[in-house]
Symmetry: C2
Subunit: 459 residues, 2 copies
């Protein structure tokens, strides 16, 4: 985990005049020359952002100063209050997606905040609007310019944190269950990765329909935490167990809908548990086939990557096979109108109190590595959120290298003061701030040992 310290911002965003300090140069040497001001007289304003400097591991993810974005026609500028971390961010980091952008670029597909500027030609938005946005990259920064078609107004009473926790996961879950799954009264659903953000959203949305049975599969270590989080799953099953037999005990005929998240889990048996008229839905964020640069991703070779399906077999069995890829739909296939309708429905359910976001943990931008690692390890229960106003957690002191990091941290920072002020305003954050001093907000994990703690986490 020592890499994350290297990326902590080494200067304050509110002090652009210090652009020529040694620290700044160090960052530029890291390959982000873009942020270099051209002329001294009026240097561009800067912001902190989570930048991917090269595809690969956590070390390529750096918190850097970048020029504030300029606003193009049709865009709005959002002051970001919360960012959502999604599985596809891990895939992007790994380069395991089709047509990835060139490094360096700002990561992130989901953020919520307040509109600061409205570009030409934009209708329906005004400065001060609270919104959530699903831009194609660049969401993890203090400011983001987003085409208005990717921006959705928040319903009254929805905090940016809730918005960042809800929007993408619930869009996916809603489309899976209701658009593709045809969920209706009395039907049954099997969801893999039941503890993740989409898994939680699936469980909640499914339970808005009467008499629906939801089976969730996740690692044993998460079961207690899931129960504690009041997850509405009816049956919690253990990954790598004979869960098919368990399901048959409850529903001898099988289930109506299987949701396979394409995220490297062993889901092959799911197809066999499908009822006649049942639907097997593959979803996820990226084309995992193209990016097997690490064992994590090569483990993701499941049946749907090697076996093709005979349409006649679907016909004989009365089955349906669907693929759903929100990223493609929004950014390549012009599906934003459709997505907008889904967002409206989700926000309506939120206002009615029928769904509530489950936030696993909230992290400072500088601690994004911990969040990513936790998601990679499938240890999150619900959404992992980044909050640009949060102060990075103290790094564990390690000899030599650790010390120099501590020194950097000790530079007095106006940003930190801002940050503290914000938290006072936002009463709900109080408790999190307490936790943060020792370790990130929930589940009792500190980032440094997330690889070794799986068993402890089951408590």
């Amino acid at each position: 985990m020592s890499e994350q310290g290297d990326n902590a911002p080494t200067q304050d965003e509110q002090q652009p005049k210090e652009n020529s300090t040694p620290e700044k140069k160090e960052i530029q040497e890291n390959g982000t020359g873009e942020s270099e001001p051209v002329a001294d007289p009026e240097p561009p304003k800067e912001m902190r952002a989570v930048v991917l400097t090269g595809f690969g591991g956590l070390k390529s993810v750096k918190i850097l100063k970048k020029p504030e974005p300029t606003l193009a026609e049709g865009e709005v500028l959002i002051r970001v209050k919360a960012c959502g971390l999604n599985f596809q961010d891990l895939m992007v980091r790994q380069g395991a997606i089709d047509s990835p952008p060139k490094c360096p670029f700002i990561l992130g597909f989901e953020c919520a905040g307040e509109i600061e500027l409205v570009g030409e030609g934009v209708e329906g938005f005004a400065v001060g609007d609270h919104v959530v946005a699903l831009p194609e990259y660049k969401a993890w920064a203090e400011l983001v310019a987003v085409p208005a078609k990717y921006v959705f107004k928040l319903p009254e009473g929805m905090s940016p944190q809730d918005a960042a926790a809800i929007t993408m996961n619930y869009i996916v879950a809603y489309i899976l269950l209701f658009e593709l799954g045809g969920l209706s009264k009395g039907k049954s659903v099997l969801v893999h990765s039941a503890g993740g953000g989409v898994g939680q959203a699936v469980a909640q949305l499914a339970k808005t329909i009467p008499d629906v049975t939801v089976f969730g599969i996740c690692s044993k270590s998460k079961h207690e935490a899931l129960k504690a989080s009041n997850s509405p799953l009816d049956h919690l099953l253990e990954r790598n167990s004979d869960y098919i037999a368990e399901i048959r005990k409850v529903l001898p005929d099988g289930v109506d809908i299987v949701l396979d998240c394409l995220c490297g889990e062993e889901c092959n048996r799911g197809y066999a548990i499908l009822k006649p008229m049942g639907r097997y839905i593959l979803y996820g964020s990226s084309n995992v086939v193209t990016g097997e640069t690490k064992s994590f991703f090569s483990a993701a070779r499941s049946w749907w990557q090697v076996d093709k399906v005979s349409p006649i077999k679907l016909f004989d069995e009365n089955r349906t096979l669907s693929g759903f890829n929100l990223r493609r739909l929004m950014y390549q296939q012009g599906g934003t109108d459709f997505v907008k309708q889904v967002v409206d429905k989700i926000f309506h359910l939120y206002k009615e109190g029928k769904i509530r976001p489950v936030v696993d943990s909230t992290w400072a931008l500088e601690d994004v590595h911990d969040g990513m690692q936790k998601m990679h390890d499938h240890k999150n229960i619900g959404k992992i959120v980044l909050d640009p106003s949060l102060e990075p957690k103290p790094k564990p002191a390690t000899p030599a290298k650790g010390k120099s990091k501590e020194d950097k941290k000790k530079q007095p920072s106006e940003e930190k003061k801002d940050c503290d002020e914000k938290k006072v305003e936002n009463g709900k954050e109080e408790e999190k701030k307490e936790d943060k001093k020792e370790e990130p907000l929930t589940n009792g994990e500190s980032a440094g040992d997330s690889d070794s703690k799986e068993k402890e986490n089951s408590n």
Copy 2:
């Protein structure tokens, strides 16, 4: 067409005492020894039925006397007033289905009539109820014993002819559009075989939803007739034309739902016209792969028989592939409760006047060959119905053989008298009776030249 004359019943059903007449023996020699009475004192009552004596062409379809069915527990006995002819009957005749029954057996999957007896353990039905039934075979007879789970009560005002024309086709169409297709306001549908029974049902049901666009493909020869029948299709396209280009002119992004009827048409291009989030649905009645005994069926090798589909491709394209096979669902997969719910919805739409059956033509049992040939030639506009009360149409006189048939016909028949009486009761049939003397009821085709008349039929 001379084979059909051989199958005309040669005696009257109301005269069981004549079982030992020469004519009866002739029939038994045709391979239906089952109907032979064991004891003289009380010979079993007999009925006319459409019997398949061997897989193959029309010659294997014979109208024979069979013992009236005995009623088992859980069954009802139905006096049949109308039978529905479906594409799967052609497949069955050909042996082009999986696990076909042994010949001889009574054909037919759809009939409507009145309950004459209610078996033990049957609830919800009473003698005199008007019902429609979807038994596994044996529907094309004067009497049929059917497990109650395959029987549905008719709504008030629905004639047996309407029931036989509506039930199976609209079940299929409803499930395709609403269960699998997820049809909703503003969506678009492409249906092949637009003139057939399911095609007509698809068009009508789709148009119960606002702003739906329906494209129908069928041979040019049917276009005028379809327009004349007030088909609610929005765009009629010509089979073997560049209909994909035509569709793109109307909807550049493509269509939401493609319905591919697995019936030997060239449907390969349908997949390419699918929108993101679109659904390609294969439906039909039988496993055409296993039964290519004739060129008609071998022509049915389409992409879905030779190409398998990569699930990852569906994922990348946001597409869905479904198979629907009503026969499997009802008779092998226990789907009758589900089907019952669909029937309720269809009958409700009928009562509201939102759907109306389109009957192509109605035939006597003895003229089933003409009906089958018409369906084989894709010449029907809507449903082909059999009516056991109808009198066979006169056969064209041909030398020698024709004469002997005419002789048989001239035997005075009480059944014919019954038949005429029934028609007088049923005012609607009056007109049909008129037509019948010259040729079957609609579209101006006589059966004898159905192979050569395709072009004339376009008028």
